[in-house]
């Protein structure tokens, strides 16, 4: 197995008496796109937040890019922050900045970048995320829900991070836009060697881009494997998920 970019061992997360993860283990290899699936409220978003270090109260070990999370020194923190991009489930854009300014925020970390280049790069990312040029001047509250998602992706991509965390990126997108989104993610992983941690319910996305799927159930990663391997898993939830009518409709080999 190639080098693990994300390594989670024995993770326990709880809110009060409510245990969300119980001794959860997970590995994500360099350059792979891992799809994380699970029912609503099984702790996918919480896992994502914990891995990026936003959820400090926990037991267990987490390493991202060989650096323990949460980072212990300022240098480690800078290395983590510069090399991961996060797109939150509801966009989490800065509401008092325009879309272009939102995308420029991570670019401001780069020393010596001129304001013009920064704006150009922001425009490029906005366009790559599938937004029209004019959207750069809009405030988040002036955008539709799907456009806010894309703006969130543009911000996550701003620094071409090595690891990209996406929380349900295609939810709320039209099917054409979602397919273009899948192609974009796939293309970027191919050409930039991105590693992607992708939480999704979108079976088409799972088929189109994910190298591996991890199923979150019973407070841990129940099983990981390719989409084909998922079909053979003998667990009621996994069977219902991957053999349901929607799953059959999304299968590329259908018909």
């Amino acid at each position: 197995m190639s080098e693990a970019i994300i390594r989670v061992r024995g993770l326990v997360t709880r809110f009060g008496s409510h245990v969300v993860h119980d001794r959860l283990d997970l590995d994500v290899a360099r350059g792979e796109i891992l799809g994380v699936v699970g029912g609503s409220g099984t702790g996918k978003s919480v896992l994502l937040r914990t891995i990026v270090g936003l959820n400090p109260a926990r037991v267990g070990e987490i390493e991202v890019l060989g650096t323990p999370v949460p980072a212990r020194t300022a240098a480690e923190r800078a290395r983590l922050e510069g090399n991961i991009g996060v797109m939150f489930q509801d966009g989490a854009l800065f509401s008092s900045l325009t879309v272009r300014e939102n995308v420029e925020v991570p670019l401001r970390r780069v020393a010596g970048l001129s304001a013009r280049t920064r704006a150009e790069l922001a425009d490029l990312k906005i366009s790559m995320a599938g937004l029209p040029y004019a959207a750069g001047d809009n405030y988040p509250s002036e955008l539709s829900g799907g456009m806010r998602k894309r703006a969130g992706l543009a911000r996550a991509l701003a620094l071409d991070p090595e690891v990209l965390f996406l929380d349900e990126p295609t939810a709320g997108l039209d099917p054409i836009g979602a397919a273009a989104f899948d192609r974009l993610i796939h293309g970027l992983t191919q050409s930039l060697g991105l590693t992607v941690f992708l939480v999704t319910h979108d079976l088409d996305t799972l088929h189109a881009v994910c190298d591996r799927v991890a199923v979150l159930a019973e407070k841990r990663v129940l099983v990981t494997g390719t989409m084909e391997e998922m079909l053979d898993v003998d667990h009621p939830w996994v069977r219902d998920y991957f053999h349901g009518p929607r799953a059959r409709a999304a299968r590329p080999d259908r018909g």
Binding site: S95, S96, V110, T117, E120, L159
Partner: protein
């Protein structure tokens, strides 16, 4: 990381410039690469054979260079690119937006004059909106009295606690200190005429008639108008108000009426608390500085000060309460989609409420003077 920092080599060969890029070409290295590229002109070839990692920012600079050279009637040849680098460049070239940046409009004299006009009508509209909000709240208040079924008692009690009970310590302390200050200042002045005993009248009239209710209102405006704006504004920001409307819930009944009613009930009580605390403060100081014993203070207070002063003070309280409540709720509804407007409206609510309360107090003073009480 593993990749080496970028190496840029510029050679001249057969009438054109050859640039050899190697190592890392990423956003962190952009300033250096841009500097090297800025000097290029004429036909250029870029050799990317040694590039280990190129990100979209690096590709963007190449694509931009190509666009610039082509605009100058030259050409850029990109060669030797590894497959991964080539695909990044292709992705970026396909995604480059066509800037349609409009030239910033020049502002002429007409625009400035128009600005002044716009601001004036804006101020007028603000006043009209406030009035409309006032009317709306009054109408809903009356309807609530008519049909108490819709009324939300729990909300009222909750707001009474927040607006009234929790403000008691600060209001009482403030009034006590004002009484102390008045007694002390009054004593030093009146002693010159041997008229120390009139300090009681001074304290009683100024606190009961003016300062008790006015300062209470100012404190409540600072505490409560801002709290109303922040609460209603953040609900507005997260579309909760729209959700209420679609669910057939009237925001005026659900949000404004309990808040304004709580203020209407609590502000007079707070004013009474402030009056009492102010008199106690004044009495203590009069005792300490002027040897006016508490029984003497009380006698003088009852004989020298008409009940009218007390009534005049308290009559104003409900009006001030309405002003504060309406301004706070209205500012909350003006909050737009972003966090900054929430902050702006919150501070605007406090300023407007305090200002309006003082204006109203001035109007009352003139009014009472005219009718001779």
């Amino acid at each position: 990381m593993s990749e080496a920092a970028p190496r840029i080599e510029t050679l001249h060969e057969a009438g054109r410039t050859l640039v050899r890029l190697a190592g890392r070409v990423t956003v962190a290295d952009l300033p250096e690469i841009e500097r090297a590229f800025a000097r290029l002109g004429g036909p250029v070839a870029v050799d990317l054979a040694g590039v280990e990692r190129m990100d979209t920012a690096g590709a963007h600079v190449l694509v931009r260079l190509r666009a610039r050279l082509e605009a100058e009637g030259q050409a850029l040849e990109i060669r030797g690119a590894p497959a991964a680098v080539e695909s990044v460049i292709a992705t970026v070239a396909a995604a480059e937006p066509a800037p349609e940046r409009a030239a910033p409009a020049r502002r002429g004299l007409v625009d400035r004059v128009a600005d002044v006009g716009a601001r004036m009508t804006g101020a007028g509209r603000f006043g009209a909106e406030l009035l409309a909000m006032f009317g709306l709240i009054l109408a809903r208040l009356v309807r609530t009295i008519w049909r108490p079924r819709d009324f939300r008692m729990t909300a009222l009690v909750h707001h009474c606690e927040a607006v009234g009970w929790q403000a008691v310590p600060i209001v009482a302390l403030m009034a006590f200190l004002i009484g102390v200050v008045l007694a002390f200042q009054g004593a030093t002045q009146l002693r010159q005429f041997g008229a120390e005993v009139f300090v009681v009248d001074l304290i009683a009239i100024s606190i009961l008639r003016e300062l008790g209710v006015l300062l209470t209102s100012i404190i409540v405006a600072g505490r409560t108008a801002s709290a109303f704006t922040a609460a209603i504004g953040s609900m507005k920001m997260r579309e909760e108000i729209d959700a209420m409307r679609t669910l057939g819930l009237d925001p005026a009944v659900m949000l404004f009426v309990p808040r304004v009613l709580a203020l209407l009930l609590m502000l007079p009580i707070l004013a009474v608390v402030a009056n009492a605390a102010g008199l106690v403060g004044g009495g203590v100081m009069a005792w300490v500085v002027l040897d006016i014993s508490p029984p003497m203070f009380a006698t003088r207070l009852v004989e020298g000060t008409g009940v009218a002063n007390y009534v005049i003070g308290l009559v104003k309280a409900p009006f001030f309460a309405l002003i504060i409540g309406v301004v706070g709720c209205h500012a909350g509804m003006r909050v737009g989609g972003n966090a900054e407007s929430l902050g702006r409206q919150t501070s605007a609510a406090v300023v407007t409420a305090i200002f309006a309360v003082i204006v109203a107090d001035a109007v009352f003073s003139v009014l009472f003077a005219e009718i001779g009480i």
